[in-house]
Assembly symmetry: C2
Homo-oligomer: 214 residues x 2
DNA sequence: AAGGAACTGGACTGTCCAGTACTCTAGAGA
DNA sequence: TCTCTAGAGTACTGGACAGTCCAGTTCCTT
């Protein structure tokens, strides 16, 4: 007898979740049938309905589950060394890693999926925006506030600055990805967007020489 | 007999286009049936199929038709008075009008519609991005170049600056609107985003005093 | 006034799909 | 070993919808 860690039921549950996630991400909500999911999970349709009451509930569960997986990005945005000399480099690294993380095909597909179904599931979109996006922005705002307290940045409204920072970085590539079916960017392009965004951000928020000396 | 300007056929054609536009915008592509469109246009389904070969072609025609209607925004972005003293005010007015135009519910619905179906119709998304968005950005870049030539802005890459400008303005409200079903912003909020964006943009691109004196 | 083209209304086909019902099998625990 | 539950497989119901067909009507043109 193999040591199976979980019971059969829990294993099936997991298999269905994974199959449904993959199917919804790649084929969208209306494009995915419950038969597709059952087949992909190697499970009978009955079993799908034993674990999830209906298609909508399964979809909602999957989307909400993904909002819990952004801890990596939050951590990324927290850890910015407070070092005046290397500020541009630190922010540049942050920007590049941030862009790379958010422009992964999976993340973009998730974004498309939520937007496409925002009218069918308005609560899902709102929840994802606030718990996902909002948490990252709030964290980034805290980081900026810290840098401003150290005199490294000149910032009135940290949350607004965080939004502007992210907008400078993401506006171009995210739009391209949203309107074209698949993302077409290279890593080099992403790095370019990151550097250009940081340059503009710093041009706007670098303290003047007098301020830097208190 | 009334003077009908156009023949019966042309009138029906137009009625179908308008009905289909309204239906697709409010209920999405899969959510709209050909029967819905026929009923809304007060036309028989046969007639719909006489004018348009099938649902996909009708959809494509509608989306492409909208890309021709952005002349207003292009004009908006062309006409920025070259006046050093009032630059912030000029850009502020441009930003407010730009935001108001692009955050109209109709425009946002169109955006959602194209993004939601970007995998089904990748050419449509690409065409809209390039002929719609791209044209506005290129025009704005030209305007910025003109302002830079006058010494009113310090700009290396005008197209990049145009993208940054638009990103600063639109990132916040567009995201909110995309993820929540319906737009929730007031005009006052839009004006706030516009002013904040312009302030950051100018902080980054205002020439230093020496440069302003040549 | 007459002919033809366009339109109407509704029935019809074929397909897809969410969700259910039922029988039979396999596996986990007592 | 016996039993009971979860699952497999598959057929079925009910409804939606794209696209077609046809018989009868309205409009425009000449």
């Amino acid at each position: 007898m193999e040591p199976n860690e979980q019971g059969r039921s829990a294993r099936k549950h997991q298999a269905i979740l994974e199959a449904a996630t993959e199917a919804f991400l790649s084929k969208g909500y209306p494009g995915t049938s419950m038969d597709d999911i059952a087949k992909l999970a190697a499970v009978s349709k009955q079993t799908v309905y034993k674990h999830f009451t209906d298609k909508e509930q399964l979809f909602a569960e999957i989307i909400l589950a993904t909002t819990g997986r952004i801890d990596g990005v939050v951590r990324l945005v927290t850890d910015v060394p407070v070092d005046g000399a290397a500020l541009e480099e630190s922010l540049g690294r942050l920007a590049r890693e941030f862009l790379t993380a958010l422009m992964r095909p999976q993340v973009l597909q998730l974004r498309r999926l939520i937007i496409a179904n925002a009218d069918r599931f308005p609560e899902l979109g709102a929840a994802w925006y606030e718990q996902g996006f909002g948490r990252v922005l709030a964290t980034l705002a805290t980081t900026f506030q810290r840098l401003a307290d150290q005199g490294l940045l000149r910032i009135d409204d940290p949350l607004l600055a965080a939004n502007h920072f992210v907008g400078l970085l993401l506006w171009i590539p995210v739009n391209k990805a949203m309107f074209h079916g698949a993302p077409q960017h290279t890593q080099a392009e992403l790095d370019h967007y990151a550097d250009a965004g940081v340059r503009t951000f710093l041009a706007a928020h670098r303290p003047s020489v007098q301020e830097a000396r208190h």
